[in-house]
Each structure stands twice: as structure tokens, then as C-alpha cells.
């Protein structure tokens, strides 16, 4: 079944301060949506609030994936319902190997007694790592510990590939990647494109969107989506910056909390 994801009127606070001021967005399986916007306008907050980060308090709104409101679920339930967030700053966890971690994540989606066999898991993992041109030693490394910025991003994509989610949010997956790595990661994402899966790609740069072609582009400012359009919107932003959007909308300071 093609994923159907509808965010309505989403508002969220962090430490008592309202950051998201009512987000509305509809996505269907097969679609790629890009979110762009200047620093500090709430893009990562949107991603974190959807995933259920404990620091973010959702005060209003719904985020319904295939008929179920994710916002009513615990973080792990959201993940098992099909949401995946490649984080801007993934955590490092010493002592937990990448493979133990991913195997637990896969098994959390399976019934007790039906866990993936070690051999099958390793085979899958090695195949995906090959696609991402990751050294197999990363299987045995502690989760993200001492990974370079680019290695962390690849590891996020590896997790996405192994977990087969319905809605994927990529938060600045391109930051810290060199040009070759960017291509590899983009190919990884493109290989995962399917009518069943939707992508929400948060980025500052058109360059990523040359590889991962969006169907829709949204601009965030002041905790809202202030403008939406097609791929041409991203190209214009790349060429001209955000001034014209601000002028058009009468916004002086685009960051959250600055609106009058």
C-alpha cells in the first residue's frame, strides 16, 4: 500500500518556547518533498517533533501515517509504524556495535522466535554496505563512535536501507559529505525510491536535489511552511537566496521567535 502521510496544524515547543507554529504538509508514497529554509527556522525541529524527541513538546496538531496518528505513539512505535529519520547529528554510543544495534532494530520489527538469523543479517548488511562503499569493518565498530561526519551520514543511510521505512526524513544528509559520497548516498536513496515510500528531504543546497529530484519544494521560515512549489523553486532559491521570499511575504527576520 502506498504510504499516505498528512501533517496538520503541528505546533511544538522546546523548553516552553514555541518553535513550530502550525505545519501543514501532505505526502504520498512515491513522492519526494524537499524542505529548504535559512538556519534556525525550525526544519530540524519539525523532523524531531515528528520522530518524538523527548525535548520537544507537541502542543497541537496531528501527523497521520496510513490512518494512525504518530504523535500518539512512543518513539519506537513511530519507527515501527514506518517513520525513519536520518538525523542531522546522530548520537554516538560506545560499547554498542553497529551490527548489534541494527540487528536489534530489525528484530524489534519481528515477533519473538522469528528473529533474523545472524548469517542472513550479515549478508544483507554487507551487501548494503557495499552499495554505500562502506568498509565492512564498520559492522564491528561502536555505533557512530569516532565516525567522521561523512561516515555518520552514510551510516544513517545504511540504517534506512536495512529498515525499509514508509516515510523517510533526511535532515541535511548532504552536510559533511564530499562530492563522491554525496553521489553514493543519493544513489542509495534513489535505489530506495518506490511507490510505497515517501521522502522528506531537508537541505540547504540545490546540489543534493540535482541527484535526488524532488516533486515538491517547501520553504520554512519562522516555524511555518511559507511557500511551496515545484523543483524550480529550489533552483531559484539557489540562484537568488531567500531575500525575495521574505520580501514577497513581508518577513524581516526569518528565524523562529522574531516575528512580531
Amino acid at each position: 500500500m502506498a504510504a499516505d502521510f498528512v501533517i496538520e496544524g503541528l505546533k511544538a515547543n522546546i523548553e516552553g518556547k514555541e518553535i513550530l507554529k502550525g505545519i501543514n504538509l501532505q505526502m504520498k508514497g512515491g513522492e519526494i518533498h524537499a524542505i529548504m529554509g535559512p538556519n534556525g527556522t525550525g526544519k530540524s525541529t519539525l523532523a524531531s517533533a515528528l520522530m518524538g524527541h523527548p525535548k520537544y513538546e507537541v502542543t497541537e496538531g496531528t501527523a497521520v501515517l496510513d490512518g494512525e496518528d504518530l504523535l500518539e505513539m512512543a518513539v519506537d512505535e513511530r519507527a515501527r509504524a514506518g517513520l525513519f529519520l536520518a538525523m542531522q547529528y546522530p548520537s554516538e554510543i560506545a560499547g554498542v556495535t553497529n551490527s548489534d544495534f541494527l540487528r536489534s532494530a530489525i528484530n524489534s520489527r519481528r515477533e519473538e522466535g522469528k528473529e533474523i538469523s545472524l548469517i542472513r543479517f550479515i549478508r544483507q548488511m554487507e551487501a548494503k554496505m557495499k552499495e554505500l562503499e562502506m568498509n565492512p569493518e564498520f559492522l564491528h565498530r561502536y555505533l557512530n563512535e569516532g565516525f567522521s561526519g561523512g561516515e555518520k551520514k552514510r551510516n544513517e543511510i545504511l540504517q534506512m536501507m536495512m529498515l525499509d521505512p514508509k516515510i523517510v526524513i533526511l535532515d541535511e544528509i548532504d552536510s559533511g559529505l564530499d562530492i563522491d559520497a554525496l553521489k553514493i548516498v543519493a544513489e542509495g536513496v534513489n535505489a530506495m525510491r518506490s511507490p510505497e515510500r515517501g521522502f522528506l528531504v531537508i537541505t540547504h543546497y540545490q546540489r543534493l536535489l540535482n541527484y535526488i529530484k524532488p516533486d515538491y519544494v517547501h520553504v520554512m521560515m519562522q516555524g511555518r511552511i511559507v511557500k511551496s512549489g515545484g523543483p524550480e523553486l529550489a533552483e531559484r532559491l539557489e540562484a537568488e537566496g531567500y531575500e525575495w521570499v521574505k520580501e514577497e511575504l513581508g518577513i524581516e527576520d526569518e528565524t523562529v521567535g522574531q516575528e512580531v
Binding site: A74, I93, S108
Partner: protein
């Protein structure tokens, strides 16, 4: 203020016991002297720990143990530990005495001695007398003195010069009778250029209050290598006070692996004295505290020799209202040039009532050295839990991964696979998972 030590036995009874055990005169005298000392000495001073309030007087009295004629007669409480050990080198102490001793014939043929300490004192008197109570001195405090007066059963392991032993020798020490005293003494002597691994397990199977007053002395000869692994899994009602000391000669190596998995109050002190030039020490302590345990773990390295590296790591997980004081003391004496003393103490607390206190201490009297310490006390990081949960892992499993991950960097370094797995199982049991 002096607190009078309550002596669990009088001199007359102690003499009788020594005589009836057929012990040599020097040993009887040594016991009597220690008893006299015990009356004068005070309890050890432990950092931030009121050991005087602990249950440290439940010695019980000496009870002769019944020898096993075959391994399968051993009490069920230790069955898992001695499974398939028929052909290994194994000593079993049951309450006050050793009930089973086996030394692999090929080791006996090389001159290795592996027997209970009382037998060793009779049969290898000179050797035992030369080392007994020379590392843990009876004069240190009342517990050490009482230990020297009352020790029973125990293990004596002697490895002759140049003998290299690959398979670990093992001991299992069980207390299951509250009235019987349980004061084992382990004495290991590794002669020049020898190499040996010794592994023991302390187990209890009783619900009455009891005490383990233990001492371990390891003498590592020049160029010798001793790996000493010990796992304590005594029950809630047994208080455990254990002093471990190694004295290391030129180019010798001591490696300590300590699993503190008791359920009762525990004070342990594991110390390496790097006497010779080029001697080295590596200590790893893994601990899990639960219930209302009071715990005081100390690791120490004292450097006298030149070019002496020491490294000690303690990692402890505290749950419920367990309270732990973790001390690391690196002492570098004047003249120990190019010594390198490193230590790390880390505590992970799983509940608001758990307490952990890490006290790293560096005492350095020599300029030309390197030394370092790292200590941390913290809780499970919510950011990490979130990250794991965001991949579908339940909160319970996420926390479990993080807790095991905390211990893993040390557990994974344990060179003995069986021991590694055993510790893993005990950690799981103590964490209630």
C-alpha cells in the same frame, strides 16, 4: 577512640585447631600472633564507608568439611561451574575446608604445586612460609589480622621456573553453612619466567548472615606472567571483604580480572606492587550493584621499579539503591623513573536512588613519569535512548544495549572466552533481565 575487636575464637581454641590440623609450629605461632594483633587493631579505614556498621563479625567457627570422592557429589549450587572439569586442575573449598583437589598429571610432572594451603604448609613448609602474609600484612588492620589468624582451606599454586601453563587452573569456593567459618587464603607463586592463568569463583547458597574474609597474595617472579581472574557472586546475606595483592619482580606481569557480582555488602582492594624494573600491571574490574548494597571497590598500583606501566579500569553499574564508592590509587615512588600509571573509574547509575562516587588519586614522588586518570559518574543518556528508539528498538532494549555497551569495552578485552560469557550471564542476572 579504639573499638575493641570482638575475637571470634580464643588463643587456646586456635592452638588446638592448628594442632589437630597437623600444622607446623611456625604456622600455629603465626596464627596466634595474628590473633593477638587483631585484638589491638582497628577496622580498615575505607573512603566514605562506615565498615564498622557492616556485618563484619559473622565468622562462625571452623567446621571440618567432608571430602568429595567424586566431582559429581559436589553441591548443586556450584554444579554449573565445575561441569566437565573432571580432567582439569580444580580445587573446591566448601565452607571451612577444601573438599576436592585435582592437578592435571602433566602439570604435576613439571613440578607445579596446586593444593589447599594447609596441606601446602605441611608439605612445602619453606616455600609457603617464605611468602605467606608477606603481601597482605596481618598488621594492616583487624580484618587482615583475623584473616591471618583464622584462614582455612585456601589454595596454594606454585609454578616452577620456566614452566608455561596454557590452560587455566581453577578454584570454586562455596559457603552454604552459616555456622562454618569461610576464610580462604589464596597464595600464588610464579617463579622466574613462568606463566599461568588462575580463575576462581566465590559462591554462596544460604540465607543466613555470613562473612567472607578473604586474602589473595600473588608473587610474580622475574619475567613471569600471572593472569588472575576472580568472580564473586556471593548472596545478599554474605558480607565480602577481600584484599588482593600482587608483588611483581623485574619484567614480570600481573593481570587482574575481577567480576564483582555479589548481592551483599562488599569491600575489595586489588593492589599491584611493581617492585622490579620493567614490571607491569593491568587491572580490570566490572561491577554491578543492586538492592541496597553498600560497595567499596579500590584498585591500586604502587610503582617502585623503573619503566613500570600500570593500567586499572573499574566500570560499575548501580541500580535500585546500591551505593558504591570507587577508588583508584596510583602511587609512584621516588626513583621509579619512566613509570606510567593510568586509571579510569566509571559509574553508570540506573536509578535516582543509586549512588556512585569515583575517587581517582595520583600520588607521585618522581618527576620523570607519566600518569593519568579519568573518572565519570552518570546516568543513561536520554539522547542515546532516543536515537536507538528512533530505529524501532523498545525503551527497555535500548537501555539494555546502552548498559551492556557501558561494560562492553572492558568485558570484550577479557581474554578468556568462558569467563567472558560467564560474566555476561551474571551481569544479565544482576540487572534482572
Amino acid at each position: 577512640m579504639t573499638t575493641q575487636t570482638i575475637l571470634p575464637v580464643d588463643a587456646e581454641r586456635l592452638s588446638e585447631l592448628s594442632l589437630s590440623g597437623g600444622e607446623p609450629g611456625w604456622l600455629k605461632d603465626s596464627r596466634l600472633q595474628a590473633l593477638a594483633l587483631a585484638a589491638e587493631l582497628e577496622l580498615p579505614k575505607l573512603e566514605k564507608t562506615r565498615i564498622d556498621r557492616w556485618n563484619v563479625n559473622n565468622y562462625g567457627s571452623y567446621k571440618a568439611a567432608k571430602l568429595l570422592t567424586a566431582l559429581n557429589e559436589a553441591p548443586s549450587a556450584i554444579a554449573a561451574l565445575i561441569k566437565d572439569q573432571e580432567d582439569g586442575s580444580l580445587i573446591i573449598q566448601h565452607n571451612s575446608g577444601v573438599v576436592y583437589t585435582r592437578l592435571a598429571p602433566e602439570l604435576a610432572a613439571q613440578g607445579v604445586i596446586f593444593t589447599d594451603l594447609q596441606t601446602a604448609a605441611k608439605e612445602h613448609g619453606d616455600l609457603v612460609q617464605r611468602y605467606l602474609h608477606k603481601a597482605v600484612l596481618p598488621g594492616e588492620h583487624s580484618i587482615a589480622a583475623l584473616h591471618a589468624a583464622l584462614w582455612n582451606g585456601g589454595v596454594f599454586l606454585y609454578v616452577p621456573k620456566n614452566v608455561v601453563i596454557d590452560t587455566p587452573l581453577q578454584a570454586v569456593l562455596l559457603t552454604d553453612d552459616a555456622e562454618a567459618s569461610f576464610v580462604p587464603h589464596i597464595l600464588v607463586v610464579a617463579d622466574t619466567n613462568s606463566s599461568v592463568t588462575y580463575v576462581d569463583n566465590y559462591v554462596s547458597d544460604k540465607a543466613e548472615a555470613g562473612l567472607h574474609n578473604g586474602a589473595v597474595e600473588v608473587f610474580v617472579g622475574a619475567g613471569a606472567k600471572v593472569r588472575y581472574a576472580t568472580v564473586h557472586q556471593l548472596g545478599e546475606d554474605t558480607t565480602d571483604v577481600t584484599y588482593r595483592r600482587a608483588v611483581v619482580e623485574n619484567d614480570g606481569t600481573i593481570e587482574w580480572i575481577v567480576g564483582e557480582m555479589n548481592y551483599g555488602d562488599t569491600a575489595s582492594d586489588t593492589k599491584s606492587v611493581l617492585k622490579g624494573n620493567g614490571s607491569s600491571s593491568d587491572a580490570k574490574v566490572i561491577a554491578v550493584g543492586s538492592g541496597s548494597q553498600k560497595l567499596n571497590y579500590t584498585t591500586q598500583a604502587q610503582h617502585f621499579g623503573k619503566n613500570t606501566p600500570s593500567d586499572m579500569i573499574t566500570r560499575a553499574v548501580m541500580r535500585e539503591s546500591a551505593n558504591s564508592i570507587i577508588n583508584g590509587i596510583t602511587k609512584i615512588e621516588k626513583g621509579a623513573t619512566r613509570a606510567d600509571g593510568q586509571q579510569t573509574e566509571k559509574v553508570l547509575m540506573l536509578s535516582p536512588k543509586a549512588r556512585g562516587d569515583a575517587n581517582p588519586i595520583l600520588l607521585i614522588d618522581e618527576d620523570d613519569v607519566t600518569a593519568g586518570h579519568a573518572a565519570s559518574v552518570g546516568q543513561v543518556n536520554p539522547e542515546q535512548v532516543y536515537y536507538l528508539m528512533s530505529r524501532g528498538i523498545t525503551r527497555h532494549d535500548a537501555e539494555k544495549l546502552i548498559i551492556y555497551g557501558f561494560l562492553a569495552p572492558v568485558v570484550s578485552q577479557i581474554p578468556l572466552e568462558g569467563l567472558r560469557n560467564q560474566l555476561q550471564t551474571l551481569v544479565e542476572r544482576k540487572l534482572g533481565q
